[in-house]
């Protein structure tokens, strides 16, 4: 399991760069590319075949809808997934992002040397931090000396990605499309949904960077909600009553990040997942939908009832306040992230997840799927031999849970970097924390195997139970999961206008919920945005979707 992939910062990294507000949830899919004529050429590409890795069997099986595989114990026998050393001894540089403390630098990091030797290259890495990647990336591009491997996140507002790809990066379509991907068995373990996020202009540009496929949820502190019979509801009235019940004596039911509150609760009203499609094929934007407006209205009522913590919508320590029992529930990037965060802040605390309920009894509630990736890692243009070597390296990095390669990448060398705990799970030593953790965070961002649930990801002694709980929650959420209709499709107007649209919309949500503006200003706001760029986004997405036959 990617122990580094679920923190709040990670989630924020993905959302703030565009929306510039902590916890703002307003961003949507795949906006980075601005291909002049990209939309037309879009997704008519043959995706790589899906060949699941069969040498390690999880205790709880994954499925194609995005359910995570679950392990309850650590595999006794690790298998080898990469037969030969991938590299040819040359220098290879990678640009990626880390979500934890940086590792010791290359010169004084013995694990780094070992990674280099296992990969058969002289590996150097530019490790961006969060926030800051959206500034580091263009700076490196502008410098002209591109690294061999570049991680490209879809939603940090990077501009002109399509031109960059066409000009400087290798089109790997012929090396991985269809059965060709079988040359790289660990990459073949990625699903079509993963690959879709690496398609621009109808070509595949890199190895996907997998991430949990579940979306934002409310995670609650069970101690707070015990008073109200647990953190669940079957109607808005019940949710409201429970929130009121737990609020009082300097405890508040919900964190004051209003944008996220509306986002998660709009699922109860059946809002589209960011971009939806109407029956006639037209593209719709979720914030314009009646469902979103109803959710906003409900959040205004919650605010009037005084159940939000009286802080500002940018508060950074809501998760800590939740662990202290001052806040009842916060929005997390996904269910596994919620459980991991509460266990990290207090090993005895197991976040409960609110399953979206049917808000008015007529409409189907929905859970908003995430993409299942946080982008992809592209390869610099070069000879076929060079590009194929890079694919071998990415194949090594994508080694699945239960392989020797994965254990080495995530934990290092037994004895020096990690030891096995009493349940048989690797735990990093002090040296491992200094040398392995940071580098793994960066390499795992570039690419890794599809996300799995493993007990070691949850601090404390209830790991196996956490895996079962989160797996169960994922099953429930997937029953009503809806996908973002535009994954793998691109709109120039999106890149140009979305940053502004997102900030203005988030400001308006905050103003309305806080009572500074009236809810009647919501509809006119969107009417005004139509000709300012939103209509164009919708048309471009629709054209692209129509062209690909979706």
């Amino acid at each position: 399991m990617r122990s580094t992939g679920l923190s709040r910062r990670h989630f924020l990294g993905l959302s703030t760069a565009v929306a510039a507000g902590a916890g703002s949830s307003l961003l949507t899919a795949c906006g980075s590319s601005t291909a002049g004529k990209g939309e037309a050429a879009s997704a008519k590409v043959k995706l790589p075949s899906y060949v699941p890795f069969a040498k390690v069997t999880p205790d709880l099986p994954p499925n194609a809808k995005g359910l995570s595989a679950g392990f309850l114990s650590y595999p006794k026998e690790l298998v080898q997934s990469v037969a030969k050393v991938p590299g040819d001894g040359s220098k290879v540089s990678v640009l990626t992002e880390i979500w934890v403390q940086p590792p010791l630098p290359k010169g004084s990091n013995s694990f780094w040397k070992q990674v280099s030797s296992k990969l058969g290259v002289d590996l150097s890495a530019i490790l961006g931090t969060d926030p800051g990647y959206e500034e580091k990336f263009p700076a490196i591009v502008a410098g002209g000396d591109l690294p061999d491997l570049m991680w490209i996140p879809p939603n940090q507002g990077l501009q002109h990605i399509a031109q960059l790809l066409e000009a400087k990066m290798a089109d790997i379509t012929e090396y991985v499309a269809g059965d060709a991907v079988k040359d790289y068995p660990n990459l073949a373990n990625m699903t079509p949904a993963h690959w879709k996020t690496a398609v621009v202009n109808g070509k595949i540009w890199g190895a996907p960077s997998p991430y949990p496929a579940l979306g934002q949820v409310y995670g609650g502190n069970p101690d707070v909600w015990a008073k109200a019979d647990g953190f669940s509801a079957s109607s808005t009235d019940e949710f409201m009553d429970k929130c009121k019940e737990v609020t009082g004596k300097n405890v508040w039911a919900l964190e004051p990040i209003y944008g996220n509150a509306v986002s998660v609760l709009s699922q109860c009203y059946g809002a589209p997942n960011k971009w939806g499609r109407g029956k006639d094929g037209s593209v719709t934007f979720w914030m314009e939908s009646d469902a979103y407006l109803e959710a906003l209205n409900f959040v205004v009522k919650l605010k009037k009832a005084g159940v939000f913590y009286p802080g500002d919508p940018k508060m950074a320590d809501a998760y800590l306040k939740l662990a202290q029992g001052r806040i009842g529930a916060c929005v997390y990037a996904n269910p596994a992230g919620a459980r991991k965060d509460t266990r990290t802040n207090d090993p005895k605390l197991a976040a409960e997840i609110l399953i979206p309920f049917d808000a008015d009894g007529h409409r189907a509630n929905a859970h908003m799927h995430a993409f299942g990736t946080i982008g992809y890692t592209a390869i610099k243009k070069g000879s076929e031999k060079r590009v194929r070597m890079m694919l071998e390296i990415l194949n090594y990095l994508a080694a699945p849970f239960g392989t020797k390669e994965r254990e080495f990448l995530e934990f290092g060398v037994e004895g020096a970097d990690f030891t096995y705990d009493k349940d048989g799970f690797p735990q990093r030593t002090k040296k491992g924390k200094q040398e392995v953790e940071g580098l793994w965070s960066g390499l795992g961002t570039a690419t890794t195997a599809p996300f799995v649930l493993a007990p070691s990801a949850f601090p404390g002694t209830h790991g196996a139970q956490d895996v079962k709980d989160v797996y169960g929650v994922e099953q429930k959420l997937l029953r009503t999961a809806v996908a973002n209709a535009t994954v793998g499709h691109y709109s120039d107007a999106y890149t140009e206008h979305y940053g502004r649209l997102s900030t203005e919309a988030n400001d308006l949500v905050n103003d309305i919920v806080a009572g500074r503006k009236k809810i009647s200003e919501w509809k006119p706001f969107w009417k005004e945005w139509g000709p300012k760029g939103l209509d164009q986004m919708k048309q471009q997405y629709q054209k692209s979707l129509d062209a690909s036959g979706e």
């Binding site: 263009p138 502008a142 507002g157 300097n250 500002d312 890149t495 103003d511 806080a514």
Partner: protein, 289 residues
């Protein structure tokens, strides 16, 4: 002698004058990936877009009102504090107070805002106390109508001690015999302040005022960015945050740069004008003719 100036000159050329060429962005549809050279020139289109944007004028209005409040309340505060401290006899107390009041200058805005939040916020010390006693909680951290006062008091709390130092230095230079002879001539406390102390700091005060006027459109950045969502953009957007949101967040680098340029030009005009006025009053100002 000129050679000795070279490092300083170089510093200004490299870090101030060369970057000024970057203002070309204000006349381009600039994209960082394409660069200065290849971005399309769009003439004054960025300025047109800027001047029809109501959010821009809102940010100008906010900036001016914060600046006016700061000028009225914050600008004289360090002088008042300096006079107060200067009148203390015990130098130990003086030193101690001086250290205490200028320390907040070194605290970052993040911490200052957090501190205010902890004390005055909706879940802060005072609100919790009020709530425990059945009273209604404070709302000063999230009330847009009192936001300008909150901002000004934060600035005073943070920087009054720092601003005081320069006045204390000026006061230390006053010839003590002037006070003695004034006292001998029968001048009381107030007359001594009026005729000896204040004239002694007049030059410094006017210079600081001119500089402040030149900087009048810079009322702060982090302070507003941090508290923007709590009170809403309408109350907290200032020119600098406008530039940040348009340039960096929205990717409208051209419009952001145009707003920055407008700000710079207004600042330069203010310096020039204020200096003229200073000369008219027979003061030296920031530079002389």
């Amino acid at each position: 002698m000129l050679a000795l100036m070279a490092p300083g000159l170089l510093f200004f050329v490299v870090f101030f004058y060369v970057p000024m060429l970057g203002n070309i962005v204000a006349f381009e549809d600039y994209q960082p990936f394409i660069g200065f050279k290849d971005s399309a020139l769009v003439g004054l289109a960025n300025f047109q877009e800027l001047f029809v944007d109501p959010a821009f004028w809102e940010s100008v209005r906010n900036t001016l009102s914060f600046a006016a409040l700061q000028l009225i309340f914050f600008f004289p505060a360090p002088l008042a504090l300096a006079l107060l401290l200067n009148s203390l006899v015990s130098s130990r107390v003086k030193k101690f107070v001086q250290s205490v009041v200028y320390l907040p200058h070194f605290i970052s805005w993040v911490l200052v805002v957090a501190l205010f939040q902890q004390v005055l916020g909706g879940a802060g010390l005072i609100s919790n106390f009020l709530r425990d006693h059945g009273l209604s909680a404070l709302d000063v951290m999230t009330d847009p109508s009192t936001f300008p006062l909150l901002i000004t008091s934060q600035v005073i709390w943070k920087d009054v001690g720092w601003g005081m130092i320069i006045y204390l230095a000026a006061l230390a230079n006053v010839d003590q015999s002037l006070y003695e002879s004034a006292a001998v001539d029968g001048a009381g406390r107030w007359r001594r302040m009026w005729h000896v102390t204040l004239p002694a700091v007049r030059g410094v005060t006017i210079m600081l005022l001119v500089l402040r006027l030149g900087d009048v459109l810079s009322v702060g950045f982090e302070q507003f960015l941090l508290q923007r969502d709590a009170v809403g953009a309408r109350a907290a957007e200032v020119l600098d945050t406008y530039v940040y949101y348009h340039g960096v967040v929205y990717g409208d680098w051209g419009v952001g740069a145009a707003a920055g340029l407008v700000k710079g030009i207004v600042g330069a005009l203010m310096i020039w004008g204020a200096n003229k006025i200073a000369h008219a009053f027979g003061e030296q100002g920031v530079y002389s003719k």
